[in-house]
């Protein structure tokens, strides 16, 4: 859920552009070649699967400093740095990933992969179906968060990492974090779940459904079969507009736009853009359709809807029974899409299993998007948490060697 809503960051501040990882490149890993396709949760098989990913920093000789970043609905593998010197904007979490930043690339080996079902290079509905030679469209099987994570695990195997030092995700990235620690407990030493939940709320499903209906109501959508023709831009833009409102807060919208008018002195008594907030949402919608595929939006939002760890394991407490990772759970005061009570449910179930868990509710006016924006509290908490995890992991490894 990267937005263009960022508060300005001074270039030379610790979160700024001056502390950049510099030029980076996206790589691809392909696996699950037929007949070894990945069996998906829905029962269908998918293969071959390509995941695109980026890495930053160096993997230590002991391979004990790897951190996996899991992106949200509209994110991609490009977390930090620039692809070309001409790039206007860096990766979506450049403020947090780089030398001296919370995910310090001089200390940690940071990995981010684009999810399966996405449209940023990994296999998804816009990829070519090897069976037909045409884009999958709706023939692409419905993928779940658990499918995304099982695919990522193959990538981590491929990179030769036995145990991740940590993993982090906000929003839907947090779903993947929770899925990872439950599914592969022995592969993760610590985990950070930010502004997230163990099951999408009714309200969350409701907003996702409005987004999907907007896309499917667009005449250009044509049952998902639009790749050779015009994309359902209007529908996807509306989906993004409604999504974007849920990522902000009432306070923040008021502070940013108030009731100010856009390019006119008084209201126009017509249906052109009157208010700045309208213009802003239209801009968000328009810029989103240039970089995102409507079918991917359908698939990924559906995967979010289906996510419910409690249902799958009987209860959240039972779901976390096997968890070995120590946890940092963070929420933001003004986040009404993934409110604090949902983070507390995670904390409660982790504590019931004796998992060392730190929980902090960070004050912010920026709503759900707060996790993507510069925030000293967030930066300091992540920095402190990671330093201690690394110290403990290395101390334990040292002890094992002596024994």
């Amino acid at each position: 859920m990267a937005t263009d809503d960022g508060i300005p960051v001074a270039e030379d501040s610790r979160l700024g552009r001056a502390h950049s990882v510099g030029l980076v490149e996206t790589r691809a890993f392909t696996f699950a070649e037929p007949p070894e396709e990945l069996e998906l949760e829905c029962g269908q098989r998918l293969g071959p699967i390509t995941l695109v990913y980026e890495t930053y920093g160096e993997l230590s000789p002991a391979r004990d400093n790897a951190i996996l970043i899991l992106h949200a609905l509209s994110g991609d593998a490009h977390v930090a740095g620039y692809h070309t010197p001409e790039d206007r904007k860096p990766g979506w979490w450049d403020i947090c990933v780089g030398p001296g930043k919370p995910f310090d690339t001089t200390k940690y080996f940071v990995i981010c992969s684009n999810i399966v079902g996405g449209c940023k290079g990994s296999t998804g509905p816009s990829s070519t179906n090897p069976a037909t030679g045409k884009p999958y469209g709706l023939e692409f099987p419905v993928v779940t968060v658990s499918d995304m994570v099982r695919a990522q695990k193959r990538l981590i195997d491929h990179l030769g990492i036995e145990r991740l030092l940590s993993m982090v995700g906000g929003s839907m990235g947090g779903f993947q974090v929770l899925e990872w620690v439950v599914r592969y407990p022995e592969r993760v030493a610590s985990a950070m779940a930010i502004a997230t939940t163990a099951r999408l709320s009714t309200q969350g499903i409701a907003f996702n459904e409005v987004g999907r209906q907007a896309i499917m109501a667009d005449p250009n959508w044509m049952g998902g079969n639009y790749y050779a023709k015009a994309a359902p831009r209007a529908g996807l833009a509306i989906a993004r507009m409604i999504g974007h409102i849920t990522y902000l807060s009432d306070t923040q919208m008021h502070a940013k736009f108030g009731r100010r008018l856009q390019d006119r002195e008084s209201v126009g008594y017509d249906f052109k853009t009157d208010f700045q907030v309208e213009s802003y949402l239209r801009y968000q919608g328009d810029s989103f359709v240039r970089r995102f595929d409507a079918n991917s939006y359908l698939y990924i939002s559906k995967a979010m809807d289906y996510f419910d760890l409690a249902e799958r394991y009987g209860s959240l407490v039972q779901a976390f029974e096997r968890v070995r990772a120590e946890f940092l759970v963070l929420s933001f005061t003004s986040d009404w899409l993934f409110p604090t009570y949902q983070s507390k449910e995670i904390v409660k179930a982790l504590k019931a299993n004796g998992v060392p868990t730190t929980f902090l509710e960070i004050p912010s006016a920026y709503g759900h998007d707060a996790f993507l924006l510069p925030n000293d509290r967030l930066a300091d908490t992540v920095t402190g948490f990671l330093a201690n995890v690394q110290r403990r992991v290395r101390a334990r490894a040292g002890k094992d060697t002596k024994e």
Binding site: E326, V347, K348, A352, P356, L360, T381, A387, N388
Partner: protein, 210 residues
């Protein structure tokens, strides 16, 4: 300022050392209102304890994270409700009792999630408090109780006698009582309710085996 619960100095103070001495090696400890996590981090380091904290102040929580102490940011009753019965060997309420909204509930919860509780609090029966009120006719403001009546966070101050009566009422066995003067000298039980600035009680449910 020995009664301020935040900004605990890094130098070990006597009351900290005494609380630490009451905690067995390797115990599982919950510190309520753990502040910056100093006590827990010492217990983890010196006594190989498993430590958990609950703290409402967000800046202090950040300090706990820096120290590597797992902490829950929020209300202590809510935070304790997440734990199972008997999860901890020891629960600690260090110089925080007087700021707790519902002391009986808090102490009952402490003895639900933990087998024994260590509770320290400023003694409102200290002679300087008594004489202060008597001579000046105004709410006591001393080195022990530095706040004005209108901005004090201390909503439930008590004396040592009060606390003993409270233990009887709640059917709590007082296993240990330790008293310190405001100058951090350890003293015996003689006239403790006049002389002690700080009391440390170790309590458990009456009739329970140690």
């Amino acid at each position: 300022m020995i009664f301020s619960r935040r900004g605990r100095p890094t130098k070990l103070r006597l009351d900290y050392e005494l609380i630490e001495s009451l905690v067995p090696d390797g115990a599982k400890v919950l510190d309520l209102g753990c502040g910056d996590g100093q006590l827990l981090s010492d217990l983890i380091e010196h006594k190989r304890c498993v430590g958990r904290g609950i703290e409402i102040d967000e800046t202090a929580v950040l300090e706990c994270v820096r120290r590597g102490v797992p902490v829950y940011h929020g209300d202590m009753l809510e935070g304790m409700s997440f734990y199972r019965d008997g999860e901890f060997d020891v629960t600690i309420l260090s110089q925080t009792l007087q700021q707790v909204m519902k002391p009986p509930e808090a102490i009952r919860e402490m003895l639900r999630v933990g087998r024994r509780a260590i509770i320290s609090f400023p003694n409102f029966g200290h002679w300087s408090v008594r004489l202060g009120l008597l001579w000046t006719g105004r709410m006591p403001r001393t080195a022990l109780l530095p706040y004005h009546w209108f901005n004090t966070p201390n909503v439930h101050l008590c004396t040592i006698k009060d606390f003993r009566a409270f233990c009887n009422r709640e059917k709590l066995a007082r296993v240990r009582e330790i008293f310190l003067t405001p100058g951090q000298w350890r003293i015996g039980p003689w006239l403790a309710n006049w002389r002690a600035g700080l009391a440390i009680f170790q309590v458990q449910r009456a009739g329970r085996e140690e």
